[in-house]
Symmetry: C2
Subunit: 212 residues, 2 copies
DNA sequence: CACTTTCTGGGTTGTTCTGTCCAGAAAACG
DNA sequence: CGTTTTCTGGACAGAACAACCCAGAAAGTG
């Protein structure tokens, strides 16, 4: 193993090219899946040429992992409007609505969610699985922190199992998205988000709020 | 197109071989994913040889579709103990527990759920996506019928949105399984199933039952 | 303005995998 | 018991694709 291509700092131009490659790869993977996306396709789409991919990435796997990391970093995918805090019922609802709306907009055609990637890679490639798992756990913590804040503000009852709620919400999001992409209808995603949010709200101290 | 390999009825032996191939493919795909499973691997695992696969299946895609159909038919995968009716809180809980237990048993390593297949194929292959969608919708109907029976027996309140509950439960199952397989821990699956079942139970007419 | 590092372009190789062909064995059928 | 369909086996062609190499341009550094 040749020391994994020493990642000496890139010049600005190089950094830009590298980003362009990752973006192109992300877009293609969103449409055609990981297995359906060839290095050559990425190369053409990014407008770079030849061995550039291998200049910046040691292998296809490395590129995929970069895509995963990027997606995991764009916190809680539904939206470039970066979620900073999911610490109120309104924020949760807004996040859910954004996810639903986003799905509706691209006709339920698969985005490049961690979920989609997980389905394809978890069983195949151990390193990617680890990256994906870390991404998911970070998202879960994001939700969890929001819920904790709500409990500290006494908006949520003390007996609520916040870990369970956080995982349930994340699962609902992933599962709903997966089903929607398969059935080509937002209904499953709407249903799972509505149900899980309603369940979370059932732990509210103030029950006067409409469940919607 | 040569009329899609006229499916003149198979002899018993041929049928057995065909099944063996599908089983081998299912097992391999469960471990290594669709893209990671070559025709040659299936051939070897099934103990048949040469062009047999193409005698029984027109293409790799056709084989995959056969696997999908098979999985969709083994109703609500958690278990060979075929679910006949999910028409009581106990039955739902038992089904959920079976799913969780099953996941725990294979160390959360991906089975060959429709969900896993959907993640890999929905975006890539339109025909497979249709098969998968049909499978999911049949499962949803299975759940829905159970819930309807419960409502008719007045175990569920009339104002419960059964479609929403059915989709939510299915999404929770798929999402929870996906997360569990990625994180290699049953916690997400347990959380999402618990939460969704509790939510369904909140529509029970008889609230004396423990939520567990 | 020399000199070094970083970036670009295209061509190429070797492997892996799907899908095909042909000839021989086994079973079904009269 | 002979003939026809059905099944089996291995070998092979053709394409796709990941990965590597080399030479030249551009950018950065003294």
């Amino acid at each position: 193993m040749p020391e994994a291509t020493k990642p000496r700092r890139l010049t600005p131009k190089g950094q830009a090219t590298k980003n362009r490659i990752i973006e192109a790869a992300t877009a293609l993977i969103a449409q055609r899946g990981v297995a359906g996306t060839g290095i050559e396709d990425v190369r053409a789409a990014a407008g770079v040429s030849g061995s550039q991919l291998y200049h910046y990435f040691a292998s296809k796997q490395a590129l995929i992992r970069a895509v995963i990391t990027r997606q995991a970093d764009s916190a809680l995918d539904p939206g470039l409007p970066r979620i900073t805090a999911l610490d109120s019922f309104e924020a949760l609802r807004a996040w859910a609505d954004a996810a639903i709306e986003r799905q509706r907009e691209n006709g339920c055609r698969g985005g490049c969610d961690l979920g989609t990637l997980a389905g394809e890679l978890s069983g195949t490639d151990e390193e990617s699985r680890t990256d994906l798992a870390n991404g998911f756990l970070r998202w879960k913590d994001l939700i969890l922190n929001g819920l904790r804040a709500m409990r500290e503000r006494d908006e949520l009852r003390a007996d609520a199992d916040l870990d369970e709620l956080a995982f349930a919400l994340l699962s609902a999001h992933q599962g709903g998205t997966l089903l929607s992409q398969t059935v080509l209808d937002v209904q499953p995603l709407e249903a799972s988000m509505n149900a899980t949010l309603a369940y979370i709200r059932s732990f509210a101290t103030d029950q006067r709020q409409p469940v919607r």
